[in-house]
Symmetry: C2
Subunit: 203 residues, 2 copies
DNA sequence: GAATATACTGTGTATATCGACACTATTCAA
DNA sequence: TTGAATAGTGTCGATATACACAGTATATTC
């Protein structure tokens, strides 16, 4: 990232980014000068002008109203590289199809929560122990969808089917049996619908 | 979020958050006053003092050095709710174990990229078609690890084993056979190691 | 060899910005 | 009904801040 910048400019640009990430506002010229040991805050001006000219920031005459325009700063995610044509340098940025982030993936993340999976009851659906399932809270899911079911205070991930007598909690594991829940079982309730799965593969 | 705030304070807090998210720096008192139609920028002071007293922001006598301390703002991710004890209100914020984001999950996201999975060759490892695999670029993986293998310009996800004559690309699907690659096959190279899997479950 | 970009020091200025002080009005709980 | 919190208007001062101007020095490019 940050092509065409001198080492010093890169350092300063990095400091800007880190400061904004950490505090939510950019440093003043004086603070930048202090950080880099400049005697004059004006030494910063030149660097910032260079950064602006090269399109990484937008300055403002107002106080601390510096904006980082470099798109690589904003995008918090991982580039999605799609179809790979023969001979194309796959790691080149031009092949991007988009960015992958959990927020993008499951839409509005407001109210979502995650649960770590403990059992093996859903391996048939590609949900393994240690995975995180992302749950959108809802009082019930449509029949056949994967949801979080609470039974006797314990949470389980299951495919939930509506039956005439109540609900069927269906594991996706050939070695496990479904659980039938009666309509008037007060200990049963649905926490929400599983809208995503995230797994970290250990090194 | 933002409990204990009056409607007006919530509005202003929301404006603060959006401004920081959008521009990377907070608005000045004057800009807030303009936004809400106040004749005096000083009308803002009272609100900000209230927000500070209630612990959502930290003010500073310096220009535009207002910091949003409310943790619900900073964390861009999804709360991880762990073990669920009986009777505990699961959706309460107090039960948080942490936050889930792709960056946290796989560590430093610098250089990572994602690929959409097309085949069924890794369903045994919980990697299904349509999933995204997150890849850390590397010229080779340790024997037995899951990696992205390029062969004749086509990318595949496989478990890669080092053999005496070359490499074995092992699918995790009982119906599929491994691929043996000779040591001097120039069309073969490894793109990186699969460090994560992300799946969106359609509604 | 001249022009240009980089990398600073040092001084000064216009203004952006926050904060204090003085006041008014309303709502809500003790 | 008294106090406190909320929700403002309006004025003024102290200072934080960016920026212009005047220099110096080095490296790179043409």
């Amino acid at each position: 990232m940050s092509a065409g910048l001198t080492p010093k400019q890169q350092e300063i640009f990095k400091f800007l980014c880190n400061h904004v990430r950490e505090h939510g506002f950019p440093p003043s010229y004086e603070e930048i000068a202090e950080q880099f040991g400049f005697a004059s805050p004006n030494a910063v001006t030149g660097h910032l002008k260079a950064l602006e000219r090269k399109g990484h920031i937008r300055r403002s005459e107002k106080s601390r109203a510096l904006e980082i325009t470099d798109p690589s700063f904003r995008q918090s995610g991982i580039p999605i590289i799609g179809t790979v044509a023969a001979g194309t340098p796959i790691l080149a940025i031009e092949n991007r199809e988009g960015m992958l982030s959990i927020e993008d993936l499951v839409g509005n993340s407001e109210g979502l929560f995650a649960l770590r999976v403990r059992g093996e009851s859903m391996v048939g659906a590609g949900i393994n122990p240690g995975d995180y399932v992302i749950v959108r809270p809802a009082p019930m899911v449509e029949s056949g969808q994967i949801g979080v079911a609470f039974l006797d205070g314990e949470a389980t991930i299951k495919r939930i089917y509506k039956e005439s007598t109540g609900w069927r909690l269906q594991p996706e594991n050939s070695g496990m049996q479904p659980i039938w829940v009666s309509k008037d079982d007060a200990t049963f309730w649905v926490g929400g619908k599983v809208v995503g799965v995230v797994r970290k593969i250990q090194v």
